[in-house]
Amino acid sequence: MNIIANLFKSSLGKKYIMAVTGGALFLFVVGHLLGNLQFFLGPEVINRYGHFLQANQEILWPARLGLLVMAALHIWSAVKVSAENRAARPVPYADWHPTVASYASRTMLLSGVIIAAFVIYHVLHFTVQTKSINFTGQSFVALRDTEGRHDVYRMMVAGFQVPLVSGFYVLAMALLCLHLSHGIGAMFQSLGWKDEVYGPWIDRSAKMLAWLIFLGYVSIPIAVLLGYGKEAVK
């Protein structure tokens, strides 16, 4: 008996890995959104939140490493499964009709790759705070509020005032919404938690959650582009 080997080798095992890691990443996306939305409660609240996270390195680093492992396994299973799927149909159809297969379901790999590219940029932009890629000419590391904490509020306003940065952010969130609109439902399916009773409800909730996540995330760059918080960066 070797459950672990079977998990990584069998077709269904790989789908379990995909679903569980996707679920974990989804929970992070929700938590991160709730954290971000404190932006609208003003500099004091979001800066305190940022400081709280940064001050607890013992929690921060295990969480980061955990997320990294989840992302790595999610990507590994996606690459492996996609390669097998391609190999399963060596001769393509000349004429192929997708019938009910949604656009989201057919483009999971593509949306995933672009989201991954965004995540790398996003981490460099706001976490590592690489000066050269924020297009503002200033370093975010130096931003401090009156209490000496990192000024997350000013960083977000200055960062999103760059239309190119906000544009990429909105595009990535749109693709995340697309990815989740299929992914959340598929996660329940892959783990066998879907049936005639809960199935339709899960699918509707998945689409609604994907939209809420999209609207929640893009509300920040759009508010900033519309002038919200500009007094903070003067």
């Binding site: 069998s10 077709s11 269904l12 097998e84 399963a88 149909r89 000349a94 399916q189 892959s190 049936d195």
Partner: protein, 250 residues
């Protein structure tokens, strides 16, 4: 009515294939799609040309032998119908129709539109059965079966093994087929005994045949002539996870 057919022609498994155009002249709207191909084949034979090879048997939608992809949809896109139950009245005068075989690595083309589906037989041989000890006939009511379970098992048992699910799936996955067999046999008391071993063996055989993985697009369910529900795949995933956690899937 008159139709133009773009048909995949391939001499054998190793020869390269290509599309050939044929005219189906003066065919009737009442004809089934396969009858129309019979007419075209008769003309071809009269001209001493090789007829188009395609699979068919019962021609009443219950055997699962006919297998054509018509305009990109296995069985032609009529809900709950095999291609033998598709009639020309669903096409328009002068239509050009593309006809292809099932396309999957696990279903190699034998000739023209005929594919070898013995991969399905090998999956069934691996565990798609109920072992019955012989002996006297048991009393009919000795084993109680809940009505809901019986209904669900019968829904799954409708699968005729045509392979349209594989043909429609963008990943050429056979999971709807395997899921149907797992629920069909595993839901009833006689088949429950071997449930864990069966699901493990079937998935192992499915993977070995080189079918793709399920990405939950729902295409299989949409083209299935027996309208087998996608929920059976969720049930397969559940059953396999249970078997795996019990240490019975290796």
């Amino acid at each position: 009515m008159n139709l133009t057919l773009k048909v995949w022609r391939q001499k054998n498994a190793t020869a390269p294939g290509r599309f050939e155009a044929y005219e189906a002249k003066d065919v009737l709207p009442e004809m089934s799609f396969l009858e129309m191909l019979d007419v075209v084949n008769e003309e071809l034979m009269e001209r001493d040309e090789e007829p188009i090879a395609f699979d068919s048997d019962c021609r009443e939608g219950i055997c699962g032998t006919c297998s054509l992809v018509i305009n990109g949809i296995p069985h032609g896109g009529r809900k709950g119908a095999t291609v033998c139950q598709l009639h020309l009245r669903h096409f328009k005068e002068g239509d050009t129709i593309t006809i292809e075989p099932w396309r999957a690595k696990a279903f190699p083309v034998v000739r023209d539109l005929v594919v070898d589906r013995s991969a399905f037989d090998r999956i069934i041989q691996a565990g798609g059965f109920v072992s019955v000890s012989t002996g006297g006939v048991p009393d009919a009511n000795a084993i109680p079966v809940p009505k809901a379970d019986a209904e669900l098992a019968m829904d799954a048992a409708q699968c005729i093994g045509c392979g349209a699910c594989v043909a429609a799936c963008k990943n050429a996955s056979a999971m709807l087929f395997v899921a149907a067999k797992v629920s069909h046999l595993g839901l009833l008391p006689q088949g429950k005994v071997e449930k864990d071993r069966r699901v493990a063996k079937l998935v192992e055989a499915m993977d070995a045949e080189g079918f793709g993985n399920c990405t939950v697009t729902g295409s299989c369910e949409a083209v299935c002539p027996k309208e087998i529900s996608l929920h059976f795949i969720a049930r397969l995933n559940r059953d396999y996870a249970v078997a795996m956690l019990k240490g019975r899937a290796v």
